[in-house]
Structures are given as C-alpha cells and as structure tokens.
C-alpha cells in the first residue's frame, strides 16, 4: 500500500513537472512567436474554427440562462419591491460569473475536446514526431496558435454570452412581466462598473488560457490507440471544467477582496 501510494505520488509530481515544462516552453515560444507574421497566419484559421464551433452554442446557452434567471428572480424581487432592479441582478451575475463560466465550459466542451482529439491523433500517427524530425518545434507549430486562439476568443465569446443573457432577461422583464424598459436599463447603467466588466474579462482570459493548455497538453501526452485518444479527450474536458470552477472561486474571492480594499463595499440595492 505504501509502495502504491509512493508510486502515485511520484507519478503526480512527475506529471506536474511535465506540465510545468510544457507551459514554460509554450510561453517561451509565445514571446518569440507573437511578433511574427507566420504565427498569426497559423492562428487565423483557428480563430474561425474556435469561434464558429462555439458561438452558436454560447448564444443559445446565454439566452436560456438569462431567461431562467429572470423568471426565477422576478417573484422574489417583486415581493421585496425591487423588481425594477432585476436587470442589475441579471447583469452582475452574467458579467462577473455566468458569462465567463458558461463561455469557458462551452469552449472546453466544444473546442477543448476537439483540440485534444486532433493533437492526440497527430501524436498517435507520428505527425508530431515528424514535425520534430523536420526541425520544427511542435509546441511552436501547434500549441502557440491554439493557445492564442482560445486566449483571445474567450473574452469575445463571453461578451456574446453576456449580451444574449441580458437581452433574454430584458425580454422576460419588459415584455412578459411589464417592467418599464427605461428604469430597467437605467439601474443596469448605474450599477455596472468598469471593474465588473474587467473582472469578467480577466476571468475569461484565464479560462481561455487554461482550456488551451489543458487540451493541448492532454493531446501531446495521450496514450497510443483510439482508446488513449478518447480517454485524453474526456480527461481534458473534466479537468478543464474543474479548473474553471475552482479558478472562478479563487479569482472571484481575490478580486472582490481587492475591490473592497480599494473602493469599499458596494450595495446593489
């Protein structure tokens, strides 16, 4: 039992070391690659791939989450006499929390798994080894463009999720529940600060980076065979999902503490 525990510990430490080395190499190539046109030439098709795969599902998810939030919160807010401020609740929740988290989860599901499958298949069919033999660094060729695509598109996808959710909330509040449109938007403008948008933006950047790193690392290190690729895809999504939720908690706690430290407590009512 002690031997098994020791073996697992060594394997975990070794995997962490491998991942750290992978991230370090990627960051080094990122610094070298960002000013080079050829890096962006490789990234352009990936922008389309990532955006095209994820945007429809993010719009649908954002819309329904906005609808559900509005329906669920209306009665409680009305009972307290705050129904005109429903937009504030929706927008804060979407901009700071649900927007980045939903976009991150959708990105992990739609793109992260596909990236792992693509790179895993390349590894199994020795395409990654072929790149190495030809003196082309696989991390520079394959990982850096995918990292850039996920990192830069995550905030944009989050923005679309926020907009879809807010419009859906507006539809329920104004069209179905009869809240006047003017106060609805007024309270939102009054409550949402640049800080809130910045928090959502920062979170989405972190999620995009984490998804790309996890997906690419899992693809690069998957076991051979179809089973190995399939397992790597599943692990890639599950780990990304957990990392998104954990990072959301820690980032959220840190940033709200930072806000209180700088600006003091902010009441939404």
């Amino acid at each position: 039992m002690i031997s098994a525990l020791g073996g697992r510990t060594i394997a975990s430490v070794s995997a962490m070391g491998q991942l750290s080395l992978f991230v370090w190499q990627m960051l080094r190539w990122l610094v070298v690659g960002v000013p080079q046109w050829r890096t962006w030439r490789r990234t352009m098709p990936l922008f389309y791939e990532v955006g095209n795969r994820t945007l429809p599902v993010i719009l649908v998810t954002g819309t329904f989450v906005g609808l559900v939030l509005a329906v669920q919160s209306y009665d409680q807010l009305r009972a307290a006499g705050f129904e005109q401020r429903m937009g504030v609740l929706l927008s804060i929740t979407l901009v700071q929390e649900l927007g980045p988290v939903l976009a991150g989860v959708m990105l992990a599901g739609r793109v992260g798994g596909a990236l792992t499958a693509e790179l895993g298949t390349m590894r199994v069919t020795e395409q990654i080894a072929a790149l190495q033999v030809m003196g082309a660094d696989p991390i520079r060729q394959l990982v850096v463009p995918r990292f850039l695509a996920c990192l830069l598109l995550a905030p944009l996808l989050t923005f679309f999720c926020d907009v879809a959710g807010s419009l859906a909330g507006w539809f329920v509040a104004v069209r179905l529940k009869g809240i006047p449109s003017g106060p609805y938007w007024y309270y939102i403008r009054d409550a949402i600060e640049t800080w809130d948008v910045g928090v959502g933006f920062a979170k989405s950047l972190v999620f995009g980076a984490a998804i790309a790193i996890i997906a690419c690392y899992k693809g690069f290190t998957c076991r051979t065979g179809a089973e190995g690729v399939g397992q790597a895809c599943t692990e890639s999504f599950v780990i990304s999902f957990i990392v998104i939720l954990m990072t959301d908690f820690f980032l959220g706690t840190f940033l709200s503490g930072l806000y209180r430290g700088i600006y003091g407590f902010k009441s939404l009512v």
Partner: protein, 269 residues
C-alpha cells in the same frame, strides 16, 4: 553477441555512432548496451522480431528519444545531450520515413512536401513549388500536389512521405518499416526508390524492416537486434550462411523450436 561497432573505422567516414546505448521503458529493457557505426553512403538494414527495439534504435539516431545511458554522435558532434533548440540546425540533415507515413492531415500533398523547405529556407513560394514538383517526380508522383493525404493509397502516402523526407536533400535517411502494409509489387516500388535515392543522392540509409526480401535487396549491411543487443552484423550474403538458430529462424521466416513446442503443448492441454 556481435558488436556492430566492432567493424568501426574499417570503411568510410562514420556518419552516426551509438556508443553503449541503453534504453528501458519502465521494467522493459529495449536496448542493452548497443554500439553502432553507420558509414557514409552505406545502406544498413536493421532486422529483428516485433518489439525487439528496431524503431527505438532509429529514434535514438534522430534524437526523438534520449538514451538512459550511452552516447549518440552525428559526425563528431554528440547529439544525445542537446536541447531541442540546439537540434534544429542538425535535424534538416536527417530524413525520416515513418511507418504510418505521418503526413499532415490538414495539409495538401504539395504543402506536406514543401513544409520542411518553407521551414528551413527563405525561398519564394515559386521556388518551393519547383522543389516540391521535382521531389514528387523523383518518387513518380508529380501532379498530385493539390490532393489531400486522405485521398491517397497506402503506397502513395509512403512515396509522398519519402518525397517530404528528401525535400531538403538530407545526408542520412531513416526508413521505419517502409514496406509494411503494402502488397508485394508496391513494396518493391519502395525498395527501388530506396536504391534510386542511394544512387542519385549518395545518401546514407538505415532501413528497419521485417521484410527479408526487402532487406536483401536494399541492404549493403544487415544487423539483427535480439533482446536489446545485436546478434548479427554482416553482408546480405553472409546472413544467408549464418548458422545462429535465431538468425536462421528469422531469415527463413520459421517459428523457433521452443515456441513451436510451447504452442503444441498448449494445444494438447
């Protein structure tokens, strides 16, 4: 056991030298103190049972794998301790034909063959295209530049991969099971190409194969790996006269006496 390094220095200049190379994967010992010298212009064929470490040996030569112990030299430069970045200027001097061809799925045939040229030179697109056409013509496939790897047969894939391997006119070409999975006439096309490239480009070659007819046809020298060590090193003529039972059973494609006995015993049980 035969040391393939024992014939060292008797012929032309050494292109590659492996000195006391050991490699194991977990508990499995794959190479156990291998010494090997590859001389310029010579075609060396490595034969051995499946899992005997032939491909692992090949991957040590191009430094896709690092030895656990021992040294690998390319000309007089030690390469087993070099970083990936330090290997970049050396790697274009190798050509590697992978067992599964390892063509990039996301690129056309022309892009695949032109990839190493575009990566390592500053030639214009037109010049790269001319090189691609010339290399494809060498393997008898000019005119298929716009096709995708998925549209090619197994034999065509191998030939395109060979065109890519010779795109930068390497001085050493390594063939990993070049005829595996091909019917006899197509396998012979590959054999003829190996001979043609040797004739026209004066390259040093290493061919890993199970196919004895291919080994006898293309090899100037044949070495046999068994349990991590060389048990034969000689000419194609001398292997036919070798009385080592392990070599004989491999050359004649015959099951060993012990295995045959074990099979019969299991059958009777």
């Amino acid at each position: 056991m035969v040391s393939a390094g024992s014939r060292a220095g008797s012929g032309n200049e050494a292109v590659v030298r492996l000195v006391d190379v050991h490699k194991r994967f977990d508990e499995l010992v794959v190479l156990s103190g291998v010494d090997l010298m590859l001389r310029a212009g010579e075609t060396t064929v490595v034969i051995g049972e499946s899992g005997s470490g032939k491909s692992v040996l090949l991957k040590h030569i191009v430094r896709l794998l690092r030895p656990d112990r021992g040294e690998v030299y390319f000309h007089d430069q030690r390469i087993d301790n070099l970083t990936e970045r330090a290997l970049v200027p050396i790697r274009p001097r190798f050509g590697f034909l992978f067992q599964l061809s390892a063509l990039f799925d996301s690129m056309t045939v022309g892009q695949n063959v032109g990839f190493p040229v575009a990566e390592h030179t500053r030639l214009s697109r037109k010049q790269v295209d001319e090189i691609v056409a010339r290399k494809l013509a060498m393997v008898g496939l000019d005119g298929i530049q716009s096709k995708w790897p998925a549209e090619l047969s197994g034999g065509q894939k191998k030939r395109v991969a060979l065109a890519r391997a010779i795109a930068l006119e390497p001085e050493l070409i390594l063939y990993d099971e070049p005829t595996t999975g091909l019917d006899p006439p197509r396998a012979d096309v590959i054999n003829e190409l190996i001979l043609k490239l040797k004739r026209e480009l004066s390259v040093t070659s290493v061919v890993v194969t199970h196919d004895m007819s291919s080994a006898l046809k293309v090899g100037d020298r044949i070495i046999m790996l068994y349990q991590g060590k060389f048990i034969f090193d000689g000419t194609p003529e001398s292997i036919m006269r070798c009385d080592n039972p392990l070599v004989r059973s491999f050359v004649e494609g015959r099951c060993s006496e012990e295995l045959l006995q074990a099979l019969h015993e299991k059958g009777e049980a």
